[in-house]
């Protein structure tokens, strides 16, 4: 087994260009580069305004110009190279972008707002159905995907994230999409929705609000930008991660965001995350039920050892937990819990809410008890509301 430090040394030494001094780049110098660019600028303008074609879209214009300039620059560099004696450090240049320009312009077609909305609908339908291939099939080859956490995404990484998400049954809620911009070849949509990740869904937390901007061309989705409206992923994710660290020490990295080496890794991570989320719910609700089983068995010490708080919120007033439950136990109070379910997560744990009925001799009361269960299964806060 090799150590992390040794591997990093190997990686550092595998640097194909260890020193800038070792380079023999094909450098025409700034003056040569500028001369080439300026010579080409008038030709670029002509190409961008060919009257027989539709005007290129806002993202294509610079790309086309860049492609043309790159090709012409490369050609110039090639000519200059023939006059240099030193051996170039690189292979002969191949003008790989030359065929792109006329093809791209000739293939431009219009798209209607209705067609764009249909693409958006297909996107949400495919995503919610967990069909990652169908989602990816909607993208143009040069799609740009971004969000307000990561910035621009590498498409391979984004696809892995998509697979991770769909494996844990992440979905979008009903999306309200509006056309905000329209040109001859693309339509921009802004969709407002909410996103339910697997863990979020498991703990019955509200979805994360998101505004999604889509640029749709006749070739498909060319831009997809997510702006998440709140950090709710973290609000739920942090207590989940704390529970994972406490209960499954080896797993957090396996289910965590971005810890994948392949699509299959991502899928397995998503599946395991969903499974662990369900186990988290069972763990927290089980801890609550066990605590009240101790109470009903008359084990006050056992019950109190399951609380990590000294106080109880009883109908809005703070009470001493030891005093309150000791008094209830002395009066032979019995709790019957019903419909315990998570109601979100924040801070150090999951919120579990149960309806209850207490019996004390012939007297009976009903109400709701809301508890926060930490990663170790202790009840860290408790609020009782009598009906």
């Amino acid at each position: 087994m090799i150590t992390e430090e040794r591997v990093m040394t190997l990686f550092t030494n595998a640097n194909p260009v260890r020193s800038l001094d070792d380079l023999e780049p094909v450098d025409v110098g700034a003056a040569g580069y500028l001369a080439t660019l300026e010579q080409r600028s008038s030709e670029m303008t002509q190409i961008e305004t060919i009257p027989e074609t539709k005007p290129p879209g806002r993202s294509r214009g610079p790309l086309i110009a860049a492609a043309v300039a790159a090709v012409l620059l490369i050609a110039t560099i090639g000519i200059l190279l023939t006059n240099r004696d030193e051996q170039p450090a690189v292979a002969p240049v191949v003008p790989t972008t030359s065929a792109v320009v006329p093809t791209t312009i000739a293939s431009l077609e219009g798209i209607t707002p209705e067609e764009a909305l249909s693409v958006a609908d297909s996107y949400f339908t495919a995503f919610n159905a967990g069909d990652a291939d169908a989602v990816m099939a909607l993208f143009t080859p040069d799609v740009v995907v971004a969000d307000n956490f990561e910035g621009d995404w590498d498409l391979t990484e984004w696809e892995e994230t998509l697979i991770w998400d769909t494996a844990q049954r992440t979905t979008h809620g009903q999306a309200d999409c509006q056309v905000t911009e329209q040109t001859s070849d693309e339509v921009t949509l802004v969709c407002v929705t909410e996103i339910l990740q697997g863990v979020t869904r498991a703990v019955n937390s509200s979805g994360v609000p998101a505004t999604i901007t889509m640029v749709v061309t006749s070739e498909g989705l060319s831009e997809l930008q997510y702006a998440y409206g709140s950090p709710d992923f973290l609000v739920v994710g942090r207590p989940f991660a704390a529970w994972m660290a406490a209960q499954y020490a080896d797993d957090p990295e396996a289910v965590g965001f971005g810890n994948w080496l392949s699509r299959e890794d991502a899928r397995q991570g998503g599946l395991l995350r969903a499974q662990r989320a369900e186990q988290w719910v069972a763990f927290a609700t089980g801890a609550v039920e066990q605590a009240f089983a101790d109470f009903n068995a008359g084990d006050l010490d056992g019950f109190m050892s399951r609380l990590s708080t000294l106080t109880v919120n009883l109908d809005g007033a703070r009470e001493d937990a030891g005093d309150l439950f000791a008094a209830q136990m002395a009066a032979n109070t019995q709790y019957t819990l019903d419909q315990c379910a998570p109601s979100g997560a924040s801070g150090i744990g999951m919120l579990v809410e149960c309806e209850f009925t207490t019996t004390n001799g012939s007297a009976s009361t009903a109400g709701t008890v809301l508890m926060r269960v930490n990663a170790q299964g202790a009840i860290a806060s408790i609020a009782i509301t009598n009906d």
């Binding site: 194909p16 380079l23 700034a30 790159a70 990484e157």
Partner: protein
């Protein structure tokens, strides 16, 4: 472009051409190298007013080059890239042949291990090990927080080590190795 901008661009180009050439050389295939460098400086020329001054300008160029190469990567398989990178490994090593074989094999293996990581993690490793950038600079180049860089770097190192050891184990179980190796 006015002459002041020409001077500014010339200064940027002369100062950082080798850096960007090296950056692209480390990440792309020889036949795409000049495209990538030319596109990077073309964008700098078009947006010279946006390019920060001093060393921030280099980080800006790295950011542009990263995106330019990203477009190239989308159309190339990882395997193909790795093969091309290996071709570029030290052609004229001053080391004795025996040492070179060992180092070359280790380099091949660590690059193959790196190719199995996700793209952004690999890029962070490169920026740390090859461009020798600080976390805050990497954050600037990749458009993520310094905290995210730290977290990703930690994970990337661990995953790189794991993949390297996996490859080691795999090699140990090849028929040649089971018979005592090829030597």
């Amino acid at each position: 472009m006015g002459s002041a901008n020409d001077v500014r661009f010339a200064s940027l180009y002369d100062r950082y051409y080798r850096h960007i050439y090296a950056y692209c050389r480390r990440r792309t295939t020889p036949d795409r190298l000049d495209d990538a460098v030319a596109d990077t400086f073309l964008i700098a020329w078009r947006r010279i007013d946006d390019v920060p001054h001093d060393r921030e300008g280099l980080l800006w160029l790295y950011r542009v080059a990263y995106r330019v190469l990203g477009h190239q990567w989308r159309s190339a398989s990882r395997r193909h890239k790795l093969d091309q990178k290996l071709v570029s490994l030290g052609k004229e090593s001053p080391l004795p042949p025996e040492d070179f074989i060992v180092i070359h094999e280790e380099a091949r293996q660590v690059l193959e291990a790196a190719s199995r990581l996700n793209a952004k993690d690999t890029e962070i490793l490169r920026l740390v090990a090859w461009e020798v950038l600080a976390h805050s600079d990497i954050a600037d180049v990749l458009g993520i927080s310094a905290g995210a860089v730290k977290q990703r770097l930690h994970r990337a190192k661990k995953n790189l080590t794991r993949e390297y050891n996996r490859l080691d184990k795999k090699q140990a179980h090849t028929p040649a190795a089971q018979k005592g190796g090829a030597w």
